[in-house]
Symmetry: C2
DNA sequence: TTTTTTTGCGAAAACGTTTTCGAGCCGATG
DNA sequence: CATCGGCTCGAAAACGTTTTCGCAAAAAAA
């Protein structure tokens, strides 16, 4: 029933408010008998303590915030799935904020978390010049854990994947299977993930002595734009014989553009990319993907955040956790 | 800077706490001059009012809760996308809870929202015998809006789609293009969406006088189980020549099972289903889907919830809002 | 001029918890 | 017998806001 508070219970039981509070929280200084009486009545009324009063008094919210660029992306929804699982186990609540790749929005949202609304922050950042809002969190002693898209300059634990390695391995295999001109498709060039993946790409080229053949395509974030860019590149005279997409969306875009302009995958163009699409194997042709352990990343990041919140020492490997991705080699890259 | 509160500002400005509070909220009873002074100092310190204190005093949290069965499903992540957009516009925060199709978890989670943690609830329910927790919300005067998966017995606004109609149209078209034995694949049989979609399916059969040929397959929620069930049905002697999946997962499962046992889509089996997979057109063969306007559903539901929260009258159509889905007819159903 | 209204602000109560402090009581200890 | 320490519990402060109430001074009305 709504409208039950400690005062009401106390009055009805002829007890002090403090006693009722303590009884409900199983304090050792309350006798078993009173505890039973109190709990019985609380149950009867379905009493739930007001969370704002508790949070105010205890200076903690039992809430964590998750800030991500978008949620329609499979990677993020899987990660959130993992985060929510851990949070629910811990009895924490999860606030969610989408920044839509807009750094201004990210700043504003994170500012709002400053004064106790959340006890901790899990964030996968958006590209920006600088991250003053995250510095502010550190000053406000709001624990942060990065996942996937991290910012190097800020000293906070991070959970990432071995993306450079996987990018390298994928591109090497493309080269070894006969691809000569691999285009690297990327979106926000200055994002940690873009850089790392590009590094892997370049390393593979370099190793084969084909660094001079690198083709780096920085695509626009706007939806239609990237497809236009791809169309131009893939219908040109010097078109690549393979693309490696740094993000899922660009791999999918490539498929669509190919269908549009009549290019055959993989005969005319090999396609591979980072993607957590569980249905990639149903594509025509099945798409070669680097899949990141998104769910585990979420769980891991949340776990570390809780250790921070609880003031525990971090384990040795937790300041920078690198989880293994894996390559699903499929027909879209079969030469 | 952390640790700034009204008291500190007041002291530094030689003002009363109440004056500072009023100045920051642009109260008319504060002179422009003092407002400026106050705001300047607040800005300097980056002051953010403690949300718990505000919420406690004002008895509102500026937070809404979203409860959904899962988030990996494209439908829900798109809906959440819409919800978050509206919430952010309104300056509200969004709590998210996943029930993983577990009604006990749903009950517990909703109970936690009772005492002011959220000002409103958007929910897509999980199958259950009854919904006492939702009744409780009504008594606690916590506004609810259902979206997609609704419960008829509870009097709250709902945002759904014309799913029965679309199920009917899809099945009719399957019949007209020559399918004789269409299997209807469903998961939780007593869910509103399952019932409506099944009704549409049956209506189409009835209209063609083939009601006796109905095949209703209630699949297990467990991941591997549903594929096993499908495998059995699709490799049997009397196998269907088409399946219509009530939910995305079962359509995808069908593709996978077909690949496993060597059935060709659509020659051996037509496949269609409700799905918000944006990549369905890239499947082999491209998959026929009924796509629901998930994003709009989210926006619409959130909009209605806010009208409830703000105590406004609902517009005529808002108690039950039906948005149009659409059918994407593709090669998976080409006879 | 006097009276009323308006303007600008301060003091304190209120929101519903948790926590600090202390008090009474009882049994044990010296 | 005086003291001490544990066991229960109550009174009140505290958390940081918002809001109610009141009050003085200035402005407007009479």
């Amino acid at each position: 029933m709504a409208g039950t508070d400690l005062k009401k219970l106390a009055r009805e039981l002829n007890l002090a408010v403090s006693t009722v509070s303590r009884a409900l929280r199983d304090s050792h200084e309350i006798s078993a008998a009173t505890k039973a009486r109190v709990k019985a009545l609380a149950d009867k009324y379905g009493f739930r303590p007001n969370p704002h009063a508790s949070s105010l008094r205890q200076a903690k919210s039992r809430t964590i915030a998750v800030v991500v660029p978008e949620i329609r992306n499979n990677f993020f929804s899987q990660a959130i799935n993992g985060i929510e699982l851990v949070a629910q186990e811990k009895g924490y609540h999860v606030l969610i904020y989408l920044t839509h790749e807009n750094s201004k929005q990210e700043r504003e949202v994170v500012q709002l978390l400053q004064n106790g609304r959340a006890d901790g922050l899990l964030i996968s950042v958006t590209e920006a010049e600088s991250y003053p809002h995250l510095e502010a969190c550190r000053e406000a002693e709001l624990p942060i854990v990065f996942f996937d898209r991290v910012v190097d300059e800020i000293d906070a634990p991070r959970v990432i994947t071995d993306e450079k390695l996987l990018a390298y391995q994928t591109c090497r295999r493309l080269l070894e299977s006969g691809c000569e001109r691999i285009a690297f498709l990327t979106m926000a060039g200055n994002l940690s993930i873009s850089r790392h993946r590009q590094d892997g790409y370049l390393q593979a080229l370099k190793e084969k002595g084909k660094e001079h053949l690198s083709i780096i395509v920085e695509c626009s974030a706007a939806d239609g734009d990237s497809r236009e860019q791809l169309k131009k590149i893939l219908s040109g005279p010097q078109r690549p014989d393979a693309v490696f997409a740094a993000v899922e969306k660009l791999a999918v875009d490539t498929y669509e553009v190919c269908a549009g302009i009549g290019l055959n995958i993989p005969q005319d163009l090999c396609v591979a990319g980072f993607s957590n699409l569980t249905v990639a194997s149903l594509f025509n042709p099945p798409m070669t993907t680097v899949v990141q352990p998104a769910y585990e990343i979420g769980k891991e990041a949340a776990g570390i955040l809780f250790r921070l919140i609880e003031g525990k020492k971090l384990l040795p490997g937790e300041q920078k956790r690198v989880l293994p991705s894996h390559l699903e080699w499929r027909r879209s890259t079969a030469r």
